[in-house]
Symmetry: C2
Subunit: 135 residues, 2 copies
DNA sequence: CTTGACTCTGTACTTAGGTACAAGGTTTAT
DNA sequence: ATAAACCTTGTACCTAAGTACAGAGTCAAG
């Protein structure tokens, strides 16, 4: 398998070149070997690694958390249960976010139902509620 | 009613002093009158205004959007319906966020169910899924 | 009348996750 | 052999919503 330049890697993994160098600085991808000229040389592994990062991001993990997942994997003392624990925490966090959003939505719906949609803006029950609603 | 210094306003409205000056820069609160010394002089109105901002923030509006709401209110051509429209857009945005979070949660739950919680981290189905899961 | 608490402006820093140069060196295709 | 396209480093910039000074001026209590 041929090695990849940073540009080829970027294209394959569908990320920006600068993002790759940023991930390298953050320690999310290993420092690659270099050619004589200093050009970075990547293997296919790094494509996989970047895909890992992208998927974990989609699941709501921050780069910091992804770094933790990656180091969990390297640590031979890590069990599958350690990973599961992170996932469970993340699920709970997601649930909390959903709860907050639902509360926001309920309030907004209540407000819009009170609003007849006509009449001057100054008397809009939505704006009035924002002014004076307690608790 | 006595006028308030910026510090007293901060205490009453329960925000940081710097936040007040920041809101002033952003045009979210009107520029207050000043004493001879240059000290800002606020009225009770500004407490109300800051509470408006805080509540709107809780409902998921950004400061930029709050600024729009506030200027809607000032514009005599604005109808209640204009405000309702913003609220409806925000409701739709919240619903979209909830959908994304639910999708994330479902995927995570599926993964954790496959994970027996024992065994080495390297063979964890969660990590494997992040490596190789397609689409 | 001094001391401590407050306020002023302006600027820089923060977090997160990047993106965008500039100035120079390398590779590749013609 | 030369031009286009690529790569290097380092630094600065971006959004959002603030927070944290520094250095100077002001106010209130004792």
């Amino acid at each position: 398998m041929e090695s990849l330049t940073v540009g080829q890697l970027a294209k394959k993994a569908e990320v920006n070149i600068e993002t790759i160098r940023y991930y390298e600085r953050r320690g999310l991808i290993p420092k690659p070997s270099r050619r004589e000229s200093g050009y970075r040389q990547y293997t296919q592994d790094t494509v996989t690694r970047i895909q890992f990062i992208k998927r974990a991001k989609e699941l709501g993990f921050s780069l910091r958390e992804i770094l933790e997942l990656l180091s969990l994997r390297l640590d031979p003392g890590t069990t599958c249960g350690d990973v599961k624990k992170r996932a469970d925490i993340k699920i709970a966090e997601i649930e909390e976010k959903i709860r907050i959003l639902r509360r926001m939505k309920r309030t907004l719906i209540t407000l819009t139902m009170e609003c007849k949609g006509s009449g001057p803006g100054r008397e809009c029950p939505i704006l009035e509620a924002l002014d004076s609603e307690k608790e």
